[in-house]
């Protein structure tokens, strides 16, 4: 090459920006393949812009090989520019129909014309160089993309770490209340957060918020908000004042264009009184006897304007009432047809009975059905429920189902009861095992003795809980046939053949539960298995082995 080239070899890369419109500005040449490892053009490289509609581009990619610019007649600004720079020969580097570079040569030093051999050499060079350069370009491009992806992933990870650092590790234990929380971050983390703050006098502070941005900056703002609220909540008895203070503190801390929506409530568990203020966050839904109501209180998001006042409102949750606090992630989720999940749908679902856990499950199932499979979650989803457990007069149904009157059907019943009870964490493991055995025996009795294993008569199971009691009612359809008075099993008699080996069912049930009642209405018999929920010793504990010896 040196023998023929008078000017420096100069590269330029032009990538046609398809589909390029003629009005597009010329595509700049961002990098050069020959200078591996560097970023941007290296030595001996110039950038050249050729407009997508310049006829020279079509000529270069047209398979003409090395082009003598002197002999070319084209109405081309790029050609004029090349000539003005003193380029005599242009060797297009074309890969898969795309111009990826251009080798430009000035006049020969010997002032002779380029020979046939020179051109042939240049053509050969271009034929071999173009694909190699293309590969190098692709590799570099890929590396750059990978680096970019890694950077974004890293940032996401940091943001996630910060955010999750501030989510509560566990739910508060409020006597007479069931608290449930669900949080699912979007891939590109949003700024949702929630918190429970222990306050003097057994009161509980409840926070649900959303930073209106994503990534590390949003996570940092979330962390700041979290700390500010925690610091103020303990000293201030008024939710409005807490938000007011938080707003003042955040104004100075927040990056521009960022703000935080936040709902803060103070719950008095014994009375069910909830005082709350709202800095522009989604309104909570209260489900009570009168249906679903929104808990409304006005206020600007935090961090926007100084001197804001926050309206303070109050609601009372009666036994059985349930409150849902939520972030945008659910209501603003989109179906593939761009339809939005929406608040009306959410409000309607909040009207269905069941525990807070059940509501969250229901909402997530509805969401999954609405968005369909393969949905990329758009924003964080936060759901927090507070439910005041019913008094003894108003037990709440945890589950209700039937099983067929067949051998082995008790297994399914046990599993469902255990799931309903475990979900609310109502019983310690050993007591749950006792209940499971009692349920199994009660269902077996109902299927066998009550329903005589008749396929058309199912066994009904109903699990209810109040603040103090958990009850499993097992109902058969034995009509008015009395439940046979089971003989007390006597192991000695059984071992010596004076009693049948069977007949342990009722005995086991009695020893497993705290209370055992039966009821009937002429068509059905029901056995009620009752477990006490607070501070109760396991039934039968401390009995010694001689108890059954009568």
């Amino acid at each position: 090459m040196t023998r023929s080239a008078s000017g420096s070899r100069r590269w330029s890369r032009w990538r046609p920006a398809f589909p390029a419109k003629p009005t597009d500005p010329p595509a700049p040449v961002p990098e050069l393949a020959s200078t591996a490892g560097g970023s941007g053009p290296g030595p001996g490289v110039v950038e050249l812009d050729i407009a997508p509609n310049d006829p020279l581009l079509a000529y270069f990619t047209g398979g003409h090989g090395t082009v003598d610019l002197d002999g070319l007649e084209l109405d081309s600004p790029a050609l004029a520019a090349l000539r003005a720079e003193g380029t005599r020969l242009a060797v297009p580097l074309v890969s898969q129909g795309e111009l990826i570079g251009l080798l430009r040569l000035g006049p020969r030093r010997s002032e002779q014309d380029y020979s046939y051999d020179d051109r042939k050499l240049l053509d050969d060079l271009a034929t071999h160089a173009a694909p190699a350069i293309r590969v190098a370009q692709l590799v570099r491009q890929q590396q750059a993309e990978l680096r970019q992806r890694e950077r974004i992933e890293q940032e996401l990870k940091v943001a996630q770490l910060i955010q999750q650092q501030f989510l509560p590790r566990e739910l508060p234990d409020l006597p007479g209340w069931q608290v449930a929380a669900y949080y699912r971050p979007a891939r590109a983390v949003g700024g949702d957060f929630y918190d429970f703050i222990e306050l003097p006098g057994g009161q509980a502070g409840i926070v649900v918020g959303d930073v209106a941005d994503k990534g590390v900056p949003a996570a940092l703002v979330m962390a700041t908000t979290h700390s500010v609220l925690r610091a103020d909540a303990r000293g201030l008895a008024s939710p409005g004042e807490v938000l007011e203070r938080a707003n003042e503190l955040l104004i100075g801390e927040m990056p521009p264009y960022m703000f935080v929506t936040c709902l803060y409530g103070i719950l008095d568990p014994p009375s069910g009184r909830l005082r709350f203020a709202n800095a522009g966050h989604n309104l909570p839904y209260l489900h009570g006897e009168g249906g679903v109501t929104e808990l409304r209180a006005t206020g600007m998001p935090l961090g926007l304007l100084p001197g804001m006042r926050y309206e303070e409102r109050e609601a009372t949750l009666r036994p059985g009432d349930r409150l849902l606090l939520h972030s945008d992630g659910l209501a603003e989720a989109h179906a593939p047809d761009r339809q939005m999940f929406g608040l009306p749908r959410l409000a309607k679902l909040c009207g269905e009975p069941g525990s807070g856990e059940a509501l969250i499950d229901r909402l997530l199932a509805e969401l999954a059905g609405f968005t369909g499979p393969g949905w990329e979650q758009e924003d964080d989803i936060t759901l927090v429920t507070l439910q005041r457990l019913g008094g003894t007069s108003a037990p709440q149904v945890l589950d209700e189902f039937t099983v067929p009157s067949e051998v082995g059907a008790e297994r399914g019943a046990v599993e469902r009861v255990a799931a309903a009870v475990a979900k609310l964490d109502l019983l310690p493991p050993a007591r749950l095992e006792q209940l499971k055995t009692a349920v199994a025996e009660a269902v077996m009795n109902a299927a066998e003795h009550g329903n005589q294993h008749r396929a058309e008569l199912p066994v009904a199971v109903r699990v209810t809980a109040s603040a103090a009691l958990l009850e499993v009612a097992v109902t058969d359809q034995s009509g008015d046939r009395p439940i046979p008075d089971a003989t007390e099993p006597d192991l000695d008699a059984k071992l010596t053949g004076r009693q049948t080996p069977r007949g342990w069912g009722l005995f086991l049930i009695r020893n497993m539960v705290d209370e055992l009642r039966t009821s009937g209405d002429g068509a059905h018999h029901t056995i009620h298995l009752v477990m006490h929920l607070h501070g109760h010793q396991a039934a039968g504990e401390g009995e010694d082995a001689a108890d059954g010896n009568q």
């Binding site: 599993e415 050993a430 095992e433 055995t437 077996m444 071992l495 005995f507 082995a545």
Partner: protein, 132 residues
Amino acid sequence: MATNELTVAVRYHAGVAVLDLAGDIDRDADAPLRHAYDRAVDDGATTLLLNFAGVDYINSTGIAVIVGLLARARRDHRPISAFGLGEHYRRIFTITRLSDFIGLYPDEDSAVAGRSAATSNPDVRAAEGATE
């Protein structure tokens, strides 16, 4: 939860027939347990050790099956002991007084050791339990 039919494998440990139970102890456990017992007796076993480690579910009909097995073993003067029972079912063995007739051990080694010590008079424990 699907039912899980009981299978019983019989093996020997220091002269004691160990019945490894896997599955549910319910009414369907009767046949496999009886067959395993027969096999152990045919092999000349004098003591039986029930391994409950593979059992997650025992109901009242299963208790009846165990009572039947125990009654037979007592007629044959073959002591039975057991290990591998979880806390919950140990409690049920206590409530039903099965533990008065079936020695409960925390693990196989202590069960085998306990059994060997008792073989001189296999019915001592049971007799004591019955007259308590």
